[in-house]
Symmetry: C2
Subunit: 180 residues, 2 copies
DNA sequence: AACTTATAATCAGGCAGCTAATGATTAGGA
DNA sequence: TCCTAATCATTAGCTGCCTGATTATAAGTT
């Protein structure tokens, strides 16, 4: 599941040595890249452990959050296709996610009166309660992960991470975006 | 496969609104966290597309790299257990990875003369050639991803990402470390 | 009405990682 | 020597995600 399958990152000297053999290797770029994957993996591991304790996967959690009724907003009723689009997964995957969530009583499928091909997916009261019970710890964990960075460092991090993500999307656009 | 299943990150105002309902939610921490997962996912997507073009998974690539003979180093012959340890996967998973790599002629298993329970896994010439042919593009992609950051920004990023990873490992240690 | 095209949701099958259980071998202790 | 415990690799079966094919419905064309 993790993106980086390495217990320990290679030392910088090792990157330098490797760069002699492969002139394309930019040691400081590789170092940043490895740190990025590791930090992402570690952060994900922390929240995923909490997910597993509540018997929910990242995918199912995302679906619940997309359906979650915010403070005074409308009920957020979406079709499987809309959910798949916003979650960035294929419709087939979304079918499976909704299957599990429906079996667990978190969401319900209701046929659409206008178009019989379509369904509406709604969060049940049980799903609402579930989220409200687990979200505090979820947010607490994220807060702990970042509590050693001050506001200035956080702004810097957001800016630099944004640069990398934008560069990735621009230089290597996605070939087949999910379900175009 | 990605860690973050969201096409678009929530707006900051949305985090602020949510924070009114959940006092544990630290908006700037959440923003950094979302950016971290997204940047990690995007970076991984870029190198994984290259892996797929060469019919290799992240796991198999890691095994090949662990066995890769550096400039003048020794041949890097390892047992499946050592590979699993260094790659951070279970031994069962490593068995499967080696199965595939051996079927493709990238590595060989040889019985250990000293201890008949053990094997040695070795990179074949074909595996060596394979790595040498794909690594330049691999490193090139990492260079492109980071080419909009100067050296100062890279050092900052390494430092801040390191802080997060260390905080994660320290505040939320892994419960069952692979195969202890 | 009949035909074609597009779209919604689903089904079938695959792959990568995991845990738990198994068989073979080694090491240590009485 | 024999018994027990530990270790190595493997197998079997699970989950979560994926792609590609399938079925039902809708909409446009003639």
């Amino acid at each position: 599941m993790p993106h980086l399958l390495l217990k320990d990152l290679p030392r910088y000297e090792c990157l330098l040595e490797c760069a002699q053999r492969f002139p394309q290797l930019d040691p400081s770029a590789c170092e940043v890249f490895l740190h990025l994957l590791r930090a992402g993996d570690e952060g994900f591991r922390v929240i995923d452990a909490h997910f597993q304790a509540h018997n929910v996967s990242q995918g199912r959690f995302t679906v619940l959050m997309l359906l979650f009724e915010k403070n005074g907003g409308e009920p957020h009723v979406l079709t499987p296709a809309q959910l798949a689009e916003q979650a960035g997964v294929s419709r087939a995957t979304m079918t499976g996610l909704i299957d599990t969530l429906e079996r667990d009583g978190m969401v319900t499928r209701t046929p659409s009166p206008a178009d019989r091909r379509m369904l509406s997916v709604t969060l049940t009261p049980r799903g609402q309660t579930f989220l409200e019970s687990m979200l505090p710890e979820h947010f607490r964990r994220i807060g702990v992960l970042l509590d050693s960075l001050n506001e200035s460092e956080r702004r810097t991090l957001v800016r630099l991470l944004g640069k990398i993500a934008n560069r990735a999307a621009e230089a290597f656009p996605t070939a087949a975006p999910g379900q175009a």
